[in-house]
């Protein structure tokens, strides 16, 4: 090509509130984009799971079947299935279209904090406060997990799945990475209870937030620390962290009602996005666009890089 590549634009941060969704399902414990980022899933403390359209903010479906507050949800790559976990110690596999429970899996001894599909949605992985991660088979009718990973010495707070790796953060202050291809378990000691872990989008780094109000970026292969991000407040609650769509920024919830944006390389605080007064409990970044979902108490806010004209509902209380 004769033309040089256009200079990469400065990454746009989702700092404009597009809309607020009142979920009416108690506290929203987790908010997640679906696989392609067109839909929003919210986990309510009133045992319901709701599916929303991101662009319009309308409720599409409510999934009921859990016995206690829903704590995490994940959608399969083809948007045909959902898996959710709850304080009622169960993991449920849902059929998206019909809203029926495909499978209800019991086995955890405590509340299940996090759940995740693998890439092909053949396995569901759920991490619980009982310190185990259970791998459930979605293909067979077995109700026993394929394998139980019980290496953690305390409850599992967060887990993520990549192509052949499981990243598991535990309250015992360790981030464990199970490499299925190599058959190895890498344990990174962080010290403070882990609240959230995630992979970077290039799959080379891991991000982990812990209760010492610090988010750390570690090199996946060696375990060396590449960056440390602090300034926010995370001392008692299980708060989420994530990376932006192009791995340019590190985001974290905070107990002071803000979402903190750090530059990934420099580690400097780029933006302190005021969300509300209460604790920002969960956040989720759009897989491709600069869109952000935050959940605080009973509502979910959608943030975009540019203000939209048809802002449907602005919060008067603010």
């Amino acid at each position: 090509m004769a033309f040089p590549q256009p200079r990469p634009q400065a990454p746009q941060l989702p700092q404009h509130l597009l809309r607020t969704i009142e979920c009416q399902q108690g506290a929203v414990r987790a908010v997640r984009f679906n696989a392609d980022g067109n839909y929003v899933l919210t986990c309510g403390s009133d045992k319901s799971l709701k599916l929303w359209s991101m662009s319009r903010g309308t409720l599409l479906k409510t999934y009921t079947g859990h016995g206690y507050e829903v704590l995490d949800v994940d959608s399969s790559y083809d948007n045909s299935q959902l898996c959710s976990c709850s304080s009622d110690k169960t993991v449920i596999l849902w059929d998206v279209a019909s809203g029926q429970v495909t499978r209800k899996l019991r086995g955890h001894a405590g509340k299940v904090n996090c759940v995740q599909f693998n890439e092909e949605a053949t396995v569901m992985l759920s991490g619980s406060i009982d310190g185990t991660v259970r791998c459930w088979d979605t293909r067979s009718r077995r109700y026993e997990p394929i394998q139980i990973l019980d290496e953690a010495q305390d409850g599992i707070s967060s887990l993520k799945v990549s192509e052949h790796e499981l990243l598991i953060g535990s309250v015992d202050g360790r981030v464990r990475r199970y490499d299925l291809r190599m058959g190895q378990l890498h344990v990174d000691f962080i010290g403070s209870p882990i609240t959230c872990v995630c992979f970077s989008r290039d799959g080379q780094c891991t991000l982990s937030s812990s209760l010492d109000s610090t988010v750390r970026l570690l090199d996946k292969s060696s375990g060396e620390m590449l960056g440390e991000y602090s300034g926010h407040v995370n001392k008692g609650y299980k708060l989420d962290c994530c990376l932006s769509d192009k791995d340019t920024h590190v985001l974290s919830c905070s107990e002071d009602g803000h979402v903190y944006f750090w530059d990934l390389v420099e580690g400097s605080l780029t933006l302190k996005l005021p969300v509300g007064k209460a604790v920002v409990q969960s956040l989720s970044f759009h897989p491709t666009e600069p869109r952000l979902l935050t959940s605080m108490e009973g509502h979910v806010q959608v943030w975009g890089a540019e203000p939209e004209d048809n802002c449907t509902y602005l919060q008067e209380e603010k």
Binding site: Y68, N113, G155, G173, G183, L211, K235, G236, L239
Partner: protein, 1015 residues
């Protein structure tokens, strides 16, 4: 000449049939006419018709559908049309069959290799067409390998030439026929190439003379060669020149034919040639003759004159086809075979008519008769000339009457390992006891003894773990030990085995409770209550021993059928057996007497306990029941536990590394981990360890009672303990936010039962360790003085008795109570259930009275004071609570109901508090949900906000004050909490300001009252 005209019966039409019949009739007439002439004159063509018989009914003509034509292989041919030669080809004029035309397929697998298709044109042709195309029918033909002689033009010519000069000119084929070309093997051809000639022996060439000399010198052992060959060689020898060597003689090799049949030696089955063709010399083979007949035929050949006959004959065989006469089919036992005269003529053998057995009669006969009696001598055997001496067989000695052919291997006992009582007993009974311990073998020696024997220098450095401890710790240990021994001594003074057992068993009393209670329900309590008991545990243990005694002293006890629980340790099993036998005798001191005196106190205690339990567990059961069970192949009560092979390194190092922000090698550890095969499959990943059956972390078996096991466990508990300096998660227990050292002992409530210390030693070790750690904490942390008090606070309401640490330590020495966490875990989980249901109510109630959600929030917040003090939303929340008060005040009518709801919600709030007691990061409070608010309340809120703004400053001041007071108030907090439970006038504000001192509280109450008055 007559022409016999025969027509093939035409098949097609009826008319023809009829005409044919008339026609044959005429021919027959001709035949009849010519009958007088001889038949030889006729020339016949075709096949003649079967002669018609007069009375035969006229045959029915075949219907059309049955008139079929078959080819030469019996397959049906169908008349088709002129172009295909009249008959169809293939399947309805296709190339296929009924199944359709199937193209040839090529299938080849590893097991069944496909052969190379060698297709000839014949494969595609019909058999009928072979002749048309000149393809000869395939038959078995001799290949030219086996054909008589190859055609060789040169040889032919040579033969032709030689034939001319031959004796019989012109005859070429005659010699060739006589001398068939024998095809020689490759070995023979090789030999020929090397110069061997037919008729020679194989081997180096010999000088004849030497050979002969050797022959003379050599003694012949075994079978001698037949002499005639050597004679010949002697003849030749005479002409042999001096320096000419000869090829060795060709020797017919001895043919060792293997015996392949299962007949007896020398037996030959019936030779069919002999039997049918008529064997010349043996004559008639009679298989089934009477013994008497056979003996006669063997001895004196009475029937020598009898002509030989072929075939099998004899009794019940009938007459064969080859036999002319049909006599002698049945055995005729003539009376001449018998002696019919009693004491008449004397045979001369001195037996007087008594037909003696053969060995008596044989004595008189010579050896030839013997041979005859024996029958045919085997090939290659001759009859021995000298009779071998018969070996004298001595009878075995007579066994004593009470001899039992069983040998018991008594366990190896030496005086050092066996208690003196047992040793005495052994010496008294058997009179021998292995005295010399050092001759026990090298495995019984310990390392220092071996070291002495080898003359090595003793190893430098500490020989015991205890030497590694500090002097203070050692002193403390010694104290504990002394106390324990004193206790034991005092117990030993009692000299009652039951009581002694009880003291040791008291450590496990709690664990055994269930077991013993079960047995107590089965068997009535024996007379243990008559004994004076000092402690309940003692009584329990003694009751156990009593029970064991009772169970075993019964008449049903059968020693042979008892279970061997310690089979893997023979010495221990021997001690146990001894114990059981004593139990059976009703000996009350059974337990104490047979314990090993050389063992440590702890080991003995453990063993004592084990014996009692084993005796109870494996007590003799009914035979009907015990017969249904078999002994397992693998002992289940092995002394080993499975432990993950790779243990984590020291956590303190990691902690230090984290502090220095040196992530990487110091904080990273990599273990081997085996994913499940199915998991790999689901992840589309090849199995990293194909062929290994382990899943997860590889496990290793370790001794259950190894000290190091417990060390590792305490190490892992230290993981969280080592992190008190780091910001501790309030999550670990929200009610006990400061109890880092104590709280950290429970990593999580889920893994407590697993690592429950099982015996006093482990408890002791962990206790000492914690003590060491506590001491360390005391030295380096200033505020650690609060720990014991906090501990007291922790025990508040849960632990009934409060103890100082020393007391507690001693308590732990005596009995190991399950730690508090266990109870907590049990009750917390049950409250979890409750809270789940209550929260359901909660959500419903929210709609009724939305402000009620606030106290929950505030209570949750106050449960976690450090966070609320520092985090910014805290004032907001407190403002909200105030706000709610205002709403309550503004609606005095609703006040009572609100109070009610509050009080009703205080319970869920508490429950939630329990719920919060989970470990790990908590979930944020559900918060204020605006949509759930009624519009009225919303309005109110807006109003109140404005009102509240003025008070905000005041409030913040208060907050600051609170902060100041906090450090002092921390200790008082618990007390206040207990107060607050009784104080229910305004639990709301209480909840919010639990941190606040009482005076502050009063002031605030006053404030509220004044506010109310104001409104």
């Amino acid at each position: 000449m007559h022409l016999k005209l025969v027509c093939q019966p035409p098949l097609n039409t009826k008319e023809e049939e009829e005409s044919h019949s008339t026609h044959t009739a005429t021919i027959l007439a001709v035949n009849m006419a010519s009958d007088e002439d001889s038949d030889e004159d006729f020339v016949t063509y075709g096949t003649p018709l079967e002669p018609l018989e007069e009375d035969e009914p006229v045959r029915k003509p075949l219907p059309v559908h049955e008139q079929t034509v078959k080819d030469e292989k019996g397959r049906y041919k169908r008349f088709h049309g002129a172009f295909t030669g009249g008959f169809s080809a293939g399947y309805f004029n296709t190339v296929g069959s009924q199944e359709g035309w199937t193209p040839s397929t090529f299938v080849s697998s590893r097991q069944q290799k496909a052969e190379k298709p060698n297709v000839r044109p014949e494969d595609f042709m019909d058999e009928e067409d072979f002749s048309e195309h000149g393809i000869a029918p395939r038959e078995i033909v001799t290949t030219d390998d086996f054909a008589s002689g190859k055609k060789d033009q040169l040889k032919d010519k040579a033969r032709a030439v030689s034939s001319l000069a031959a004796l019989i000119p012109g005859d070429t084929g005659l010699l060739e026929e006589l001398i068939a070309p024998a095809r020689s093997s490759i070995g023979v051809e090789l030999l020929r190439k090397m110069g061997w000639k037919d008729g020679q022996g194989v081997g180096p060439r010999l000088k004849r003379k030497q050979c002969k000399q050797n022959d003379d010198a050599v003694k012949v052992y075994g079978c001698a060669f037949p002499p005639n060959g050597s004679e010949e060689s002697e003849d030749e020898d005479e002409f042999a020149p001096e320096n000419v060597s000869f090829a060795p003689k060709d020797v017919v090799p001895v043919d060792f034919t293997p015996k392949v049949d299962s007949h007896g030696l020398g037996y030959r089955g019936l030779n069919p040639l002999q039997a049918l063709g008529g064997g010349s010399e043996t004559g008639h083979i009679n298989l089934f003759t009477l013994q008497s007949d056979r003996t006669t035929s063997l001895f004196g050949d009475r029937n020598s004159g009898q002509q030989r006959r072929g075939g099998i004959g004899g009794q019940a065989f009938g007459v064969g086809a080859m036999e002319e006469e049909d006599t002698d089919i049945y055995h005729k036992d003539s009376m001449s075979n018998y002696d019919n005269v009693l004491g008449g003529e004397e045979p001369g053998d001195g037996l007087y008519g008594w037909t003696a057995p053969q060995q008596y009669t044989r004595k008189k006969n010579d050896s030839k008769r013997d041979v005859a009696y024996l029958g045919r001598i085997l090939d290659g055997f001759t009859l021995a000339s000298q009779v071998t001496e018969i070996k004298t067989v001595y009878p075995p000695p007579d066994l004593p009457r009470d001899y039992r052919p069983v040998h018991y291997f008594r366990p190896v006992v030496d005086s050092s390992t066996v208690s003196p009582i047992v040793a005495q007993a052994l010496q008294a009974s058997r009179g021998h006891l292995s005295q010399d311990a050092p001759q026990q073998g090298r495995h019984s020696l310990d390392s220092s003894q071996r070291c002495d024997m080898l003359g090595e220098m003793p190893l430098q450095g500490p020989s015991s773990v205890f030497e590694l401890l500090g002097s203070k710790d050692r002193e403390r240990l010694n104290e504990i030990r002394r106390a324990a021994t004193e206790q034991n001594k005092s117990v030993e003074n009692l000299s009652s085995a039951v009581d002694r057992a009880a003291v040791v068993a008291s450590a496990k009393a709690a664990a055994l409770q269930a077991l013993s209670s079960r047995f107590q329900s089965i068997a009535p309590q024996p007379d243990s209550h008559t004994q004076s008991q000092t402690s309940p545990t003692k009584s329990q243990a003694s009751s156990e021993t009593q029970m064991a005694l009772k169970a075993w002293s019964g008449p049903t006890a059968d020693a042979s059928k008892t279970f061997k629980p310690f089979a893997e340790n023979p010495q221990k099993q021997a001690r146990y057996d001894l114990y059981i036998t004593k139990l059976k005798q009703g000996n009350k001191d059974a337990l104490e007497s047979n314990l090993d005196s050389s063992m440590t106190e702890w080991e003995r205690g453990r063993e004592r306990d084990e014996f009692v339990r084993a005796a109870l567990l494996y007590k003799p059961s009914n035979s009907s029941l015990s017969s249904r069970f078999t002994r397992s192949k693998h002992e289940d009560d092995t002394d080993s536990v499975e432990v993950t092979r790779d243990q984590e390194n020291d956590v303190d190092d990691k902690q230090a590394a984290v502090k220095m922000k040196m992530f990487g090698k110091l904080t990273r550890e990599t273990f081997e981990w085996h994913p499940d095969k199915l998991l790999c499959k689901r992840f589309n990943v090849p199995d990293p360890y194909p062929g290994s059956s382990t899943v997860g972390m590889p496990k290793v078996k370790r001794d259950k009672y190894s000290v190091f096991n417990f060390l590792t466990i305490t190490d892992s508990s230290q993981v969280s303990r080592g992190a008190p300096s780091a910001p501790k998660p309030p999550s670990s227990s929200s009610t006990l936010p400061h109890l880092t050292p104590e709280v950290s002992n429970k990593k999580s409530r889920w893994d407590i039962p697993g690592q429950e210390p099982k015996d006093p030693l482990s408890a002791f070790i962990s206790e000492t360790r914690s003590e060491v750690l506590a001491a360390k904490n005391e030295t380096d942390s200033t505020h650690a003085t609060a720990t014991p008090e906090v501990k007291v606070a922790q025990s508040d309401g849960k632990q009934t008795e409060q103890k100082t640490e020393e007391e507690e330590k001693e308590e732990d020495e005596e009995e190991v109570r399950p730690p508090m966490d266990l109870f907590k875990a049990i009750f917390a989980s049950s409250s979890d259930e409750k809270s789940s249901s209550s929260s359901e109510d909660d959500s419903e109630e929210k709609e009724v009275a939305p402000p009620a959600s606030d106290p929950i929030q505030s209570s949750a917040e106050t449960l976690n004071p450090p966070v609320s003090a520092q985090s910014t939303p805290a004032p907001d929340i407190s403002r909200l609570t105030d706000l709610k008060h205002l709403t309550v005040q503004s609606m005095p009518s609703a006040e009572t109901t609100a109070q009610n709801t509050q009080s009703s919600h205080s319970a869920p709030a508490k429950l939630q508090g329990l719920d919060e007691e989970e470990f790990g990061p908590r979930l944020p409070p559900p918060g204020f949900i605006p949509s759930a608010c009624s519009p009225q309340l919303k309005k109110q809120k807006k109003k109140d906000k404005e009102k509240h703004k003025a008070k905000k400053h005041k409030k913040e001041k208060k907050k600051k004050k609170n902060k100041k007071h906090k450090h002092k108030g921390k200790q008082k907090k618990r007390v206040e909490e207990s107060n607050s439970s009784s104080d229910d006038t305004d639990s709301n504000s209480e909840d919010e300001n639990r941190v606040v001192s009482t005076s502050e509280l009063l002031q605030r109450l006053k404030n509220i009252r004044s506010k109310r008055e104001h409104i």
